[in-house]
């Protein structure tokens, strides 16, 4: 029985086309090697086992002017609004965004009308059943002059495969903060595609935290096509055991007078592996752009590994672009300083490692969420 989602946005043909695109599009991460630890094209996914609507979503919203509902309800009741954002930011053009689109069903839609300040976070929680294949899709449309904060969470998922997408459209003068916290079971696998489009003088701030799952591979794109727009990305991840994290973020400055700030704080312990590739692209006509990329990695064991690769492509000549990257272990003098105040070495190390994440934690909304993240990070440091 076709639902409103099928009728309005995703006919059988559209799903088939997305599936086709998934199969024909390279991930861009098909080679293994120094910077490419996993071949995402060799995940050998069995598409015949996949279907829409596995998993459950709960949505909390206390802003009276906001609409926040599941994707089917959105298609049935707010179809024209959903269509203004769904599939419009390029998620479906990437390999795994196409896969999410092909099996879309579970999901959430957040709509903020013009000139509304929705400061209470809207919380979208995906509860992933064990051993399931799940395709969560979060769509956000914020109209001109409005503010919104959205928190997305992934929970559960023992042995599950999750292929998730999030799209944000922020119109002129809008400001959106979107935080995504992945706390899946440590044998889950998750692929994420996050795409976004800020309007003139709009701000889109992404904050992502990868704490769970055996494998997390993510692609995050902000395409700036209107002057005055600002993109903000804060990313933290912390693989331990045999966890593997692979994140690519891309900010495209396609017009001038746009700004972006990317901050990555990562740590790895045990045999944890991670790779982060940070792309900043400033087009020839994007004069007056200002982009910064800061990436710090902390190695807590000798078998842990993090590759950090900042990649700046700048075609304009009147821009500011900064990038800085560090990879290192805990500073022995800092540990001794704390120990010398009576605090045992393990606690001193934990204190410094947690402190290391603070600048990224600062970019997550609400003290409660920050505290949850600190607790989760502390648990990983035990």
């Amino acid at each position: 029985m076709p639902s409103a989602l099928e009728d309005r946005l995703l006919s059988g043909n559209a799903r088939a086309a997305a599936r086709e695109r998934y199969e024909s599009t390279p991930s861009g991460r098909e080679r293994t090697g120094r910077y490419w630890k996993i071949d995402l094209d060799a995940l050998s996914l069995d598409l015949t086992a996949f279907g829409p609507d596995a998993g459950a979503v709960t949505i909390e919203n206390s802003n009276p002017r906001a609409i926040a509902c599941d994707l089917h309800t959105a298609a049935a009741e707010h179809g024209p609004l959903l269509a203004r954002a769904f599939g419009t930011t390029g998620a479906a053009q990437t390999k795994f965004g196409a896969l999410t689109t092909a099996f879309a069903g579970l999901g959430a839609f957040v709509y903020i009308p013009a000139d509304a300040a929705c400061d209470d976070p809207i919380v979208v929680t995906y509860d992933i059943p064990a051993a399931s294949n799940v395709f969560p899709y979060t769509v956000v449309l914020v109209e001109r002059g409005s503010r919104a904060t959205i928190v997305e969470r992934f929970e559960g998922g023992g042995g599950a495969f999750v292929c998730a997408a999030a799209e944000i459209v922020a119109e002129e003068n809008a400001a959106v903060t979107f935080a995504s916290v992945q706390g899946l079971a440590e044998d889950a696998r998750i692929l994420t595609t996050r795409t976004s489009r800020p309007g003139r003088n709009a701000t889109i701030a992404w904050a992502t935290a990868d704490l769970g799952s055996a494998l997390s591979a993510g692609e995050l794109i902000v395409a700036i096509e209107h002057p005055g727009a600002h993109a903000d990305i804060a990313t933290l991840f912390f693989p331990r055991g045999n966890q593997h994290v692979d994140i690519v973020s891309t900010i495209e400055h396609r017009v001038g007078n746009s700004t972006s700030e990317t901050l990555v704080k990562s740590a790895a312990t045990d045999r944890g592996q991670a790779r982060y590739l940070g792309n900043i692209r400033i087009a020839a006509n994007a004069q007056g752009s200002d982009a910064s990329l800061r990436d710090d990695a902390l190695l807590l064991s000798k078998n842990a590994h993090i590759d950090s690769v900042p990649a700046l492509e700048i075609a304009a000549n009147d821009v500011k672009a900064f990038h800085g990257a560090t990879v290192g272990a805990l500073d022995q003098n800092s540990i001794f300083y704390i120990e010398s105040r009576g605090i045992p070495r393990n606690d001193a190390e934990r204190m410094i490692a947690l402190a290391f994440f603070e600048p990224a934690l600062d970019r997550f909304p609400t003290e409660k969420l920050r505290q949850d993240l600190r607790t989760a990070l502390a648990a990983k440091l035990q």
């Binding site: 022995q332 300083y337 010398s340 009576g342 402190a355």
Partner: protein, 256 residues
């Protein structure tokens, strides 16, 4: 009691395979102030780090006891809990750790559960006022972006908050202007006048005698080339002020 004091006997220590301390004998009695003076490179800071347990400093011979307890057998944190404190010459900057949280964690480690949070807070603000510190300090990250004077004030605040049995002040005077130096002197005096601190012993490491105008030393030791070359009263500091370390070098036949 005969085992009271921070008692250092025939202490030898290496840094990166080089012997820096070549047999130090020194006892700081409870309630006394000892000054340890000496030229750069004589091993003063090495003594401070060897006693407090920095992993880069290896003690190869000798002993050090704190009121009878062998501190060399303890890891650094337990030495602090036994009552030893070091005011660092170069305190580490640790972004992300707030001063208030750190001070509370340190006090809890050294004296578990002895103050309710509100009493701790009250004590903290009292000590900060004494040191002329702005309450906004508490929300800053540990030594991060601090000026030299702010770092030393924070070291003195930690000394006051932890109220150790024995405190080593490693060149706390270096880089301080006269007002900051006066505040350091007053905070040490306040600690010595308090109930917690009246029995505290101090080892004040300094290159220059001027800090001793603010903290009166009972005993002055001159360290040259990893050994105590001379021990005397406060007048020894005046001699150094007038004549420098060369007189003592010559007296001991040490080639500088």
């Amino acid at each position: 009691m005969s085992d009271q004091g921070l008692r250092i006997h025939n202490l030898h220590a290496n840094v990166a395979g080089n012997e820096i301390l070549k047999g130090i004998d020194l006892t700081v009695e409870p309630g006394k102030v000892h000054a340890l003076m000496g030229p750069n490179g004589s091993g003063k800071s090495t003594l401070a780090f060897s006693l407090t347990g920095h992993p880069a400093y290896q003690v190869t011979q000798g002993s050090a006891t704190l009121d009878g307890e062998d501190i060399l057998a303890l890891p650094a944190d337990k030495r602090a809990r036994a009552g030893l404190f070091l005011s660092f010459q170069y305190p580490a900057a640790i972004p992300g750790v707030k001063v208030a949280n750190f001070l509370h964690a340190a006090r809890q480690a050294v004296r578990p559960g002895d103050l309710t949070p509100s009493k701790f807070r009250a004590m903290l603000f009292e000590k900060m006022e004494l040191l002329g510190m702005d309450p906004a300090f508490m929300g800053r990250y540990l030594n991060d972006g601090f000026s030299g004077g702010e770092k030393k004030r924070l070291e003195m605040l930690q000394l006051a908050v932890l109220a150790p049995k024995y405190a080593i002040l490693d060149e706390t005077d270096s880089g301080l202007d006269i007002d900051a130096l006066k505040d350091v002197g007053e905070s040490v005096a306040a600690l010595r006048a308090s109930e917690e601190g009246q029995k505290a012993g101090f080892l004040i490491i300094t290159h220059y005698p001027r800090i001793l105008q603010h903290i009166t030393a009972d005993v002055v030791h001159i360290m040259i080339d990893g050994r105590i070359a001379k021990t005397g009263g406060a007048e020894l500091a005046n001699l150094i002020e007038r004549e420098g370390y060369d007189a003592i070098r010559e007296e001991h036949g040490v080639i500088a």
